[in-house]
Point group: C2
């Protein structure tokens, strides 16, 4: 199992727009083969910090996701809404 | 439900020591009331990056955890092993 932690910092005045835009991406991603879990969290104090936490069956499934139409289409939109570069960690379970 | 994402960057030559030390903390934490999940992940490319992903029933349960003996004892050890300050996000689910 692969755990993806993707921490986004969104421009303060675009956070609501981001939250309106994201359900379409989430819905499509959850339908993908090998997607075990795909959730978005928002920091309670710093509302600009939004983190996707994702569980993928395998690296192959994750790579397929990154080539998918909905992901490819979402990327430029997310880039536009971001205040700074996303912090991405592709990890596996220690304990 | 409260999601905690605690991203640690450990000194390169202390990563194995960290991984040896951490199971005691994890075991004690999982016994706590209100701890729904407490897991540690390691970045596949950058082995120094280790992230706790934690689910807590409530903010009260999280605050109790941070006052617990095992947490208070672990903090100085983690501080010693860290290359830089931990990035902590206390979040809730958007979608």
């Amino acid at each position: 199992m692969i755990k993806v932690i993707a921490k986004l910092t969104i421009k303060e005045d675009r956070v609501e727009e981001f939250k309106t835009f994201v359900p379409g991406l989430v819905e499509e991603t959850r339908k993908e083969e090998g997607c075990l879990s795909y959730q978005l969290f928002q920091d309670l104090k710093n509302k600009k910090v939004l983190t996707f936490i994702e569980d993928w069956e395998s690296m192959e499934a994750l790579q397929r996701h990154m080539k998918s139409k909905h992901f490819q289409e979402a990327m430029p939109k997310i880039a536009e809404l971001q205040e700074k570069e996303m912090e991405l960690s592709v990890s596996n379970l220690v304990i």
